[in-house]
Amino acid sequence: MARRVRPRSVLPGFGLTMGYTVLYVSLLVLIPLAGLFFKSAALSWADIQALLTDRFVLASLRLTFWAATVGALVNAVFGFIVAWTLVKYPFPGSRFIDGLIDLPFALPTAVSGITLAVLFSEGGWYGRFLIPLGIEVSGAPLGVYVALTFIGLPFVVRTLQPAIADLDAEVEEAAASLGASRLQTFLRVIVPSLLPALLTGFTLALARGIGEYGSVIYISNNVPGEGQITAQLIMKQLEQNSYSKATALGALMLVASFLLLGVINGLQWWMGRRGKA
């Protein structure tokens, strides 16, 4: 009976590098995360129930979820247009704009947050037009929506750009030669090819928006039940030494993050398969 022999790599260093990697990851990531889960497992049902019926907690979850979703949707629509334009319609200055897309990544969240808050405040460049019109962004829940749109902008654009660049002109031409109008080609050929990338970008923006803290807390009024996002609520709970509540809420957010990460991985795998088709 022949034995399957797994070829051992010629390259040295597997044991050492793998060991170091696992050690680092365990110490820095796995153990602290496990700590959170163990702490939350130690909570009583009464605690959890109190948390899930607390109206401030629910309000913060609602605001966080809706603002992140709307922000990600706005980015999905406009990010698509931006990505398409940058790839397909280069114009003078488009390279500059392309470089600018990563600004929300490169700026600290506190700087983004304060700048947006100042911009939309009474004396700010946007505020001075919007506030007389009755549109209050700074100091209102609307500000959260704006901030999360800002922060999610790069995700959709950066995920779509390579996918758009990879679009096969031949498929478009085939559709055209079969009589499809430009609109039909767009809707039935191009958009489906880009769907995995679009969904990936959307989910990345969503995941980022749900956890965002620094860019939101300045523009929002942080009033519990109205303008408070979940991350800020957790911060307040820690400041008030309500560790069990913070832990429970933190565990909830962590589970949501893991779920989204799973979805993102799945979508990226789908993207990869598409590319090989």
């Binding site: 931006v82 832990t247 993050s257």
Partner: protein, 288 residues
């Protein structure tokens, strides 16, 4: 025998794949407007607001004792976290890209974790480990008078946590693409592992490595939420630049906050420029 292909309307074929000028114009207009409103104007606003009161006030704000201290703290925290994570990134990328083993996908997912986690949660998990009152290790640390939270170690730890994927994520696909042939050739010619790494792998990955380091550094210097949690939002000795900006803002010194913000905004711009340059360089290497 020849077959003649009659395309009824050749110019329509061109139009069908190239769109019309009106669509193009509208798309460009929307792009410029969207990016302008959301990105360009805020960027300009940072510098405008910071310099509004003139150079003297600006210089004052930046060179105040608190500001200088916060700059030192930021440099210190980043100066420890970035090299640590760079070493990790290279080591992990070597293990993942050059070898086959089960559980690789799981490891890569774990490395991606800090991206998906809120900064507040990132800080929370370390509070739950090290808090003197509620942490697992807290009481033991307190007895031995070791301060992690509210002190540099805590800040370095969370900074490491939130930035550790950057270098690894850059290098893993790059090294996977580059494969193992060159290193194997070197080994078969008698090189040791170290030599193979330094003389074969390193030159191949240098641009990707630099790219990852720059992103790692930008995030490390800008981290705010997690650091706020481990310092419990209290101003003090351990304030990094973003924390100091927050202090100034909370103290109603908005011009001061914006002035200090320009420092990080300038760093952000340098990051963006370097990023573009390195992306171009990496594309060139890949093209070869």
């Amino acid at each position: 025998m020849t077959v003649e292909l009659h395309i009824r309307n050749p110019s329509a074929l061109h139009g069908a794949t190239h769109g019309r000028a009106a669509v193009k114009g509208v798309a460009i207009a929307i792009t410029v407007a969207f990016v302008g409103v959301f990105l360009l104007v805020p960027l300009v606003a940072i510098f405008y607001e910071g310099l509004k009161r003139g150079w003297a006030a600006y210089a004052n704000a930046i060179t105040s004792a608190d500001s200088v201290h916060s700059i030192k703290m930021t440099l210190l925290a980043a100066g420890i976290a970035v090299p640590l994570n760079t070493v990790f990134g290279v080591v992990a990328a070597w293990a993942i890209a050059k070898f086959e083993f089960r559980g690789k996908a799981l490891l890569v997912t774990i490395i991606d974790l800090p991206f998906a986690i809120s900064p507040v949660i990132s800080g929370l998990i370390f509070v739950l480990l090290f808090s003197p009152t509620h942490g697992y290790l807290g009481p033991w640390l307190a007895r031995h008078d070791i301060k992690i939270l509210f002190a540099l170690p805590g800040i370095v730890l969370v900074t490491c946590f939130v930035t550790f994927p950057f270098v690894a994520r850059e290098l893993i696909p790059l090294m996977q693409e580059q494969g193992t042939l060159e290193e194997e050739a070197a080994i078969s010619l008698g090189a040791t592992g170290w030599q193979a790494f330094w003389r074969v792998t390193a030159p191949n990955i240098k641009w990707g490595l630099l790219y990852g380091i720059i992103l790692c550094n930008a995030r490390a210097m800008g981290e705010f939420g997690a650091i706020s949690v481990v310092t419990a939002n209290q101003p003090g000795e351990t304030d990094t630049i973003p924390r100091q900006i927050d202090n100034l803002y909370q103290g109603m010194d908005i011009p001061g906050a914006m002035a200090l913000s320009t420092v990080l905004a300038a760093l952000g711009l340098v990051t963006l420029v370097l990023k573009s340059v390195l992306e171009w360089k990496i594309k060139r290497v890949r093209g070869q």
